[in-house]
Symmetry: C2
Subunit: 307 residues, 2 copies
Amino acid sequence: MSLLIVGSVALDTVKTPFGRHENILGGSAVHASVAASFFVPVNLVGVVGKDFSPAHITFLNQRGIDTQGLQIKEGKTFHWEGFYEFDLNQAHTLDTQLNVFAAFDPVIPDRYRSADFVFLANIDPDLQLKVLAQMQKPKMVLLDTMNFWIETKKAALLEVIKQVDVIVLNDAETRQLTGTPNLIAGAKALLAMGVKKVIIKKGEHGALLFEDGHYFAVPSFPLDKVVDPTGAGDSFAGSFIGYLAKTGDLSHNNLRKAIVIGSIVASYNVEDFSCDRMRTLTPKDIQHRFDELKKIVEFEATELERL
Amino acid sequence: MSLLIVGSVALDTVKTPFGRHENILGGSAVHASVAASFFVPVNLVGVVGKDFSPAHITFLNQRGIDTQGLQIKEGKTFHWEGFYEFDLNQAHTLDTQLNVFAAFDPVIPDRYRSADFVFLANIDPDLQLKVLAQMQKPKMVLLDTMNFWIETKKAALLEVIKQVDVIVLNDAETRQLTGTPNLIAGAKALLAMGVKKVIIKKGEHGALLFEDGHYFAVPSFPLDKVVDPTGAGDSFAGSFIGYLAKTGDLSHNNLRKAIVIGSIVASYNVEDFSCDRMRTLTPKDIQHRFDELKKIVEFEATELERL
């Protein structure tokens, strides 16, 4: 089934304990689209400046990502510069230059409007509403956001939440948006806001899925070295929705699989800067960690009363 | 098989968003012993003062906890006073009065010395070494500690680590003791210190088990209300080792079950102050959450290459 991803396209300068790289390919829509492209063709909507290398566009196209909806405007591409400390847990922003992204108008090309699956990656919730207004009748819309929009555009964000099927947030964003430190209570509060399914990403601690009457928790794939966490959440969300678009199956059991696949693809994405690890990743690699994670979480039934 | 638990016995004053309780039964050996008592009789070694209510001793005895090794000394019982903020994640200490605990000499009664299973709950590592020197040939020794001993008695602690089979730490302690922010790398560093199995408790994020060639991860049981987290780690460790002592089975698969049981018993312990929830807990309750957690983590196999 068809998949549309709308979000940021960026040139990032990232420093981690494992190196510093300037103006590397990044942005929520890029990480998500590349991750989704392991499962289905992707239609990408975003904006870049004239400085955006044609080689990046070629890379995206070669991965089955349609860039007709990628606007190329006069000026410079959105630029984020940040670093991670030794613990790699939190991104520290050094510089944000919106550039052409400041005036981004997410015009959805006609042939993208019938998309069955839509991922509203992290951008201004007003723009996310604008995207939704252009869509015909998607089977599933997935929403991501960030602390900045929760702080500055909460009303618009709450409106988007009402219009989507699934929200994906990290643990800090969940606490911030719902005002509760308890993630289980927070997920219930999000469901009460009108979204049907809630996914909480917890980085090294895995991910949680909540929908009415169902709860799923999966630990993260164990990595003793994380090179660059940038884009982990986007590649999680992109591969999650990409797998769902591939299978067209929105049953709870298939959502569980999609969450695991999201965790696995994200676990690869953090092994190198930008989406460089994705360039050599194969379905066999994804299968390998999927099977490993399945073994990691298994435990046998027991009958305590008969001990 | 026989189980010995050595640790602190305390009268705690605890404040959480759900109330404040003065001089309630607490301490690492108490929480651990009560949790273990769901599976096997327990021999407890600790020290209390003359102010320690006989009703507490009666409660312990009624749960199958032998208190011949509980020394009753002139003076007052170890007292900890603390509070938890709204997020319930971290205990803030207001007052610590060691009292009789300051001169604690863990003399192990003769008939306890042949214990098959030993839990060295959180006390001074020098005292833990003293306990080990009195034991005959335990099948398994489990070690707990805390940030204070990592800071002030690291050499003694490293010596204890070499002499035990399993160490149980929380995530912060793992990072502190190994100097690495990555828990997977930290667990490997702990194994390199000479311990055979490493368990990392992550509170709301579950628990991890590492042993040579094996890795297990389990999320915590979802609770939308935690009343008092005091003793969660001790009840985890106590029920973990209690279940192992009951079954006498140290296979990796049985360790996985024991970790899940530890998580489940801890999930009940935090539902009330002190170990009050344990007073009404039944094996059927433990079985219920065990089965629920098994469903929570399950996902189906899939063959990605055949999609």
